[in-house]
Amino acid sequence: MFTFVALAALTLPAADGWKDLTGDPAPALEAKKWLNAGSTLPSLEELRGNVVLLEFFATW
């Protein structure tokens, strides 16, 4: 039973439609335009040593 549940967790996407990436290297951050960042390019390479709180959002 335990094995079955574990397998299911591996093969089904997370219920909210987002990947569970815990433990994985974070995918790159890309944007057409950055606001508030000044001359800094918020790439993860550039942000090494910093902790990043990443939030996907919409205003609607």
């Binding site: 439609g17 987002w18 890309e30 950055w34 508030n36 918020p42 709180l53 939030e55 996907f56 959002f57």
Partner: protein, 265 residues
Amino acid sequence: MRKVGDLSKLHAKYFDLGLRVVAITSEPSEIIEEEMLRSKKVKYWIGCDPENKTMDAYKEKGSVGIPKTYLIDASGRVVGDEIPTEEQLQQLLEAGFDGSLLPALHADLGPARTAYVRGAFGEAWKSAQVMASSQDEALGKDAAFLKGRVEAYAKFLQGLAESSLQKKMPGRAYGLWLALAHRFEGTEAARAAQAKLKELKSDPSVKKELGAWRDFETVLERDVKPPGAWKADAIRTSYEKVARANAGTWAAWFAEDSAKKLARR
């Protein structure tokens, strides 16, 4: 947008200590500038990603629930999907100051980098300070970065020391200020720490452990400013001895912590 206030608070409080709040949206920048920057005065970074390039890398195919959070540690790994507690955040921020996470720097900063890696942050700061005004633009930029890293770490430790005092842990505060006084020697933070140490010496719980603190300080001095070549193993053994001889004191806790950090190197 229930989280705008929370994220803004975290950004304001922890930006200087190494937190980057990064928000990504698929909406056009005109809307975001009006809704977020002008009306909500948001200061954290916002990426407008109309083609969903970033989102596609994080979501499975199909519908997505927004907002969604990812927490990424200083080495670039995803460590959670919730806004962290302040305690969790502080642990993650401190890990970010580890020398192993320093990016590649200009070759002339080699000695400064070595000093940083072995925890002699004042030495690293002083040599970076000299090079920060270099004519060589690449060197100047890297030197300013390293100097900024040291200053941010000092600020982080000052904050921890202050909050330790507020939480009635003068022993923990004393150990943090000792680290600031020695490891950041030559910086403003070290001078400020010296004054704090003097003040705190009259605290009864610190007074009781002054012998243990002296043992620890002797090794710390050798660690930061070795009389000869710096040898990690010899210093680690000395820290371990201090920890054993003073078991149960805050000094022993710091000695053990220093030994552990050396073992990881």
